[in-house]
């Protein structure tokens, strides 16, 4: 089984190299005449008047947290989907209960307005 993953490992390494190579080539082939105006961050012709890294809406964190929870749910679904034909009705009911409990959470989210993007 492990030997099947060797090409994948090589592929990942090659993928990273193929990302680095054009940038290196670009550095060597392209001109390099930096000046302070060219290197300033783009802001519609103005000087940037404050740091770009500002605090932002807490909703983005909420989306990220909910994403983690649902991603875990998907991770639980994967082995179930593969063996459902073997474990039959019992497996289906087990997953129905699992999803049912999480759907309660989903309805709670919905009713609380956590999915609203105002």
């Amino acid at each position: 089984m492990v030997e099947n993953y060797l090409p994948i490992l090589v592929f990942i390494v090659l993928g990273i190299l193929f990302g680095i190579a054009p940038i290196l080539a670009g550095y060597m082939m392209g001109p390099s005449k930096p000046d302070s105006v060219k290197l300033s961050p783009y802001e519609c012709g103005f000087e940037a008047f404050e740091d770009a890294r500002m605090k932002f809406d807490v909703r983005f964190y909420l989306v990220a947290i909910l994403f983690i929870i649902f991603d875990l749910e998907i991770a639980f679904l994967f082995p179930w989907a593969v063996v459902l034909d073997e474990i039959g009705m019992f497996g289906l009911v087990a997953m129905a209960v699992f999803l049912g409990i999480l759907v309660i959470g989903f309805i709670y989210e919905w009713k609380k307005g956590a999915l609203e993007w105002e």
Binding site: N4, Y5, L6, P7, I8, V10, F11, I12, L14, G15, I16, F18, G19, I20, P22, I23, A25, G26, Y27, M29, G30, P31, S32, P34, S36, L39, S40, P41, Y42, E43, A48, A52, R53, M54, F56, F60, V63, A64, F67, F70, D71, I74, L77, F78, V82, L84, D85, G88, M89, G91, L92, M95, A96, L99, V103, F106, W110, L115, W117, E118
Partner: protein
């Protein structure tokens, strides 16, 4: 061909020969992929041009066919700008981290019954895991640029990608239920029979959810708020120039082709002939190799991407989030239980 290489390298240790052969096979995937990406950009400009009653690029080479080459050379010769307030290391790491997963996901892709580089059991899980790493490139690029537009674009893009990844994951679970395996080749072979045996029919809602999520996942129009020109200029890559900018685009187009090919493999029978099971047509078209069907079907989906872009106006951000969370997730959860019931009941002709 492979035997010849193996013989001519026989003086090297066995491990090195195996490694060289793996690298050659990988290059045999990456090179056509990059060519496809280059010509998809030309196809996009041509097709959208004709849809808007223009002719598109037609100056470089016959019918503009050398345009992607010219673009590539031009981008290579431009200056790479490192903004003064940017974090240098992360600024360069951003495009690399977008590009590497976009390529690495192709390692488990089967192109026909035998033509597959790494035939691992958990193929689909691997693709889902490795493509979920693409979001780092976006976040890092946006943050390292230290520009407001880049930062806002990265935030929007990241929240959008993760939201649609859930719907996509659920849709893939539906395919696993139907195919009974995580191996993509097995999933295609489970669709043997005829056009109606393909999974698009029993999994129709999941199929639609999957492809639309795929469009959103690759930040393509009509879900391209991350680079909404009219609001935040170009989104997370506004500070990038020359080849480091084009690497983001290479990754985006490679991901588009990946999503299109996965949709074909999971829902439309992959390399199976659409005439399977039809009395005379099956024999007439039997000489066509499977990979032609696979690539042909994939091309149709790539065309859909371009057609969407030429047709639909851009979604508003709150509408995108609403579609992902409030429409797609309920649909997929309900349909998963329906498919689960059908699998347990061994409903024919798909699940028996």
């Amino acid at each position: 061909m492979l035997e010849f290489i193996e013989q001519s390298l026989a003086w090297l240790p066995d491990g090195v020969v195996a490694l060289v052969i793996i690298i050659l096979k990988i290059l045999a995937i990456i090179a056509p992929l990059m060519a496809a990406v280059a010509y998809l950009t030309l196809a996009e400009r041509k097709i959208i041009g004709y849809m808007q009653v223009r002719i598109g690029p037609n100056r470089v080479g016959p019918w503009g066919l050398l345009q992607p080459v010219a673009d590539g050379v031009k981008l290579m010769l431009k200056e790479i700008i490192l903004p003064s307030s940017a974090n240098r290391f992360l600024f360069i790491l951003g495009p690399i981290l977008t590009f590497a997963p976009a390529l690495a996901a192709w390692s488990v892709m089967p192109f026909s019954d035998e033509l597959v580089l790494a035939d691992v059991n958990a193929g689909l899980l691997y693709i889902l895991a490795i493509t979920s790493m693409g979001v780092y490139g976006v976040i890092i690029a946006g943050w390292a640029s230290n520009s407001k537009y880049a930062f806002l674009g990265a935030l929007r893009s990241a929240a959008q990608i993760v939201s649609y990844e859930i719907a996509m994951g659920f849709a893939i679970v539906g395919v696993l239920l139907a195919g009974g395996s995580l191996n993509i080749g097995d999933i295609v072979n489970a669709q043997q029979g005829s056009l109606v045996h393909w999974f698009w029919l029993p999994l129709l809602p999941l199929f639609l959810v999957y492809f639309i999520s795929g469009v959103a996942e690759t930040n393509r129009s009509p879900f391209d708020v991350a680079e909404g020109e009219s609001e935040i200029v170009a989104g997370f890559h506004v500070e990038y120039s020359a080849i480091s900018f084009s690497i983001f685009y290479l990754a985006e187009y490679a991901n588009m082709i990946l999503i299109a090919m996965l949709a074909v493999l999971m829902f439309l029978g992959g390399w199976l002939s659409p005439f399977q099971g039809i009395p005379f047509l099956e024999d007439w078209f039997a000489w066509i190799p499977g990979i032609v069907w696979l690539l042909g079907k994939t091309a149709v989906f790539c065309f859909l991407y371009l057609w969407f872009r030429a047709t639909f106006p851009r979604y508003r951000y709150d509408q995108i989030m609403r579609l992902g969370w409030k429409v797609f997730i309920p649909i997929t959860i309900v349909w998963l239980m329906v498919v689960g019931g059908a699998v347990v009941a061994q409903l024919g002709p798909w699940f028996d």
